[in-house]
Amino acid sequence: MNTSRYVARSNAIAARALGDETMVMSATNSTLFTLNEVASAIWKAADGMTPLDEIIKNKVCSQFEIAPDAALKDAEALVENLAGHGLLLVSHEPITKQGNSCKEPA
């Protein structure tokens, strides 16, 4: 069984970088979120094909002074939170297709 987790940005969102932060809005209830710089890095890398631990290793720990274990723990909490609001999809398999999926990170 594949123990890696894959994350993909939902197609039901609006999103845009604003400086080092990212605005994300749920299209289902118009709730607005902002992601800080680290969360934005995870958001941008959430392509559905890259495992979360690899995102943490290559996009977070390499650019921010964060211990890998702590970063992964925080990232998993973030992912659960965003998934709970329908902003991210999470799977143990690569996520290859959504209807009108976003072409590129905001």
Binding site: A14, R16, L18, E21, M25, S30, T31, N100
Partner: protein
């Protein structure tokens, strides 16, 4: 400070165009008596040009995209454009008369993640609404569209422009919105045509009707607070910016012309000749708009309404001076508080210069009113 306000402040600091209204066409299947547009097609942007513009706007940081017209569904490529906007992850709001929205279109709009749809409803009575749109059957079709969109779970706002011909009906339209589970906004504004023709302003309601609206607590909330005498003009007020036009928002016409706002038709560039982001950053006109504070306005800086007035720089521009007063807003402040502005006092002191049509003009209400449109387009989002 709400998250939306925080984001707007950050966009202002970073000089990012957070909100854009893009009109796809000025063509329309209705002929509303108060409309400010020329409905002939003078060379609309092509599908490819609009897609390229959407790419440019996304890259420039535009988040809130209001797609309007004219009637947006008059463009055969409307859904192709919308699909592209969806791919570029805008927060998309639509303004339409709804006549061409049936079950299939409503379902597609839902699939494409449209944030909200605003539909103009002028009256609950077909004979009144259809007389304003000059399209028989349009009220029924527009209301059907509201139903189809709500069935899809989309947020719908029914916008009621208040005019002499429908002033008695807004309460019933509000009830109709409640029945249809739609939001309701009232807009006591008829603006001059974009070419400067002010003849449509005769459709504006009079002071009595305006006073009644301003004292309807279902629309404005706390009437005593809403109609209170203006607060003193302090240093912060003198340094304040008029509105988001040109600061974090702008407007693009179907021909690629960029203006500070749809209601502020000062040509600031054309995306067929210059990249959107270069117009946004370097246009001398937009730069000039950004320099204006209340302190720079000779009349308004001396006016007791200075700190609380909803003065629209675009309407002031259409009156001839974007640093001058907007008489429509002066009239609104007067109806609200009973205290004349410096501009109105000057006009009354020189009766020969008074333009009777201007003295009955009115404009949108202050942003604190719950059922009344806020000029900044980012107001709809809730904070997380």
């Amino acid at each position: 400070m709400s998250l939306v306000v925080e984001m707007a402040a950050k966009a202002l600091k970073l000089n990012i165009p957070l909100s854009v209204q893009l009109d796809l066409t000025y063509r329309c299947n209705e002929r509303c008596v108060h409309c400010y547009l020329d409905h002939d097609d003078h060379g609309e942007m092509t599908t490819a040009e609009i897609k390229d513009l959407l790419d440019q706007m996304a890259d420039a940081g535009v988040f809130y995209l209001t797609i309007s017209g004219g009637e947006i569904l008059m463009r055969r490529d409307f859904f192709e454009i919308l699909e592209h906007a969806r791919l570029r992850t805008f927060c998309i709001k639509l303004k339409t008369n709804g006549v061409l929205i049936r079950e299939m279109e409503a379902a597609r709009l839902r699939e494409l993640g449209v944030e909200s749809v605003q539909i103009s409803i002028y009256s609950h009575r077909p004979e009144v609404h259809d007389a304003i749109t000059k399209m028989p059957g349009s009220l029924r079709q527009s209301i059907d569209a509201v139903r189809f969109l709500r069935q899809q779970g989309l947020l719908v706002t029914m916008a009621n422009v208040l005019m002499t011909g429908n002033a008695a009906d807004y309460k019933q339209v509000r009830l109709l919105a409640q029945e249809l589970d739609a939001k309701f906004i009232i807009d006591p504004t008829v603006t001059p045509m974009m070419d400067g023709d002010r003849s449509v302003l005769k459709l504006n309601v009079d002071q009595d009707a305006l006073r009644e609206v301003f004292r309807n607590e279902e629309l404005v909330g706390n009437v005593e607070e809403f109609c209170a005498p203006p607060a003193a003009v302090d240093q912060d007020a003198l340094d304040s910016l008029p509105c988001s036009a040109g600061h974090t928002a702008c407007y693009v016409s179907p021909y690629g012309d960029v203006y500070p706002c749809v209601q502020f038709p000062m040509p600031s560039g054309n995306v067929r000749q210059t990249k959107f982001v270069d117009i946004w950053r370097d246009s001398p006109q937009l730069k000039e708009v950004r320099t204006i504070t209340l302190r720079d306005m000779p009349s308004c800086s001396q006016c007791s309404h200075g700190a609380t007035c909803t003065r629209c720089p675009g309407l002031a521009y259409l009156e001839g001076n974007m640093r001058g007063p907007s008489t429509q807003d002066c009239e609104k402040s007067y109806a609200r508080t009973g205290i004349p502005s410096e501009n109105l006092k000057a006009k009354l002191a020189s009766p020969k210069s008074v333009d009777a049509t201007q003295l009955i003009q009115i404009k949108g209400l202050p942003p604190m009113a719950p059922n009344i449109p806020v000029r900044a387009t980012e107001a709809a989002a809730a904070s997380a």
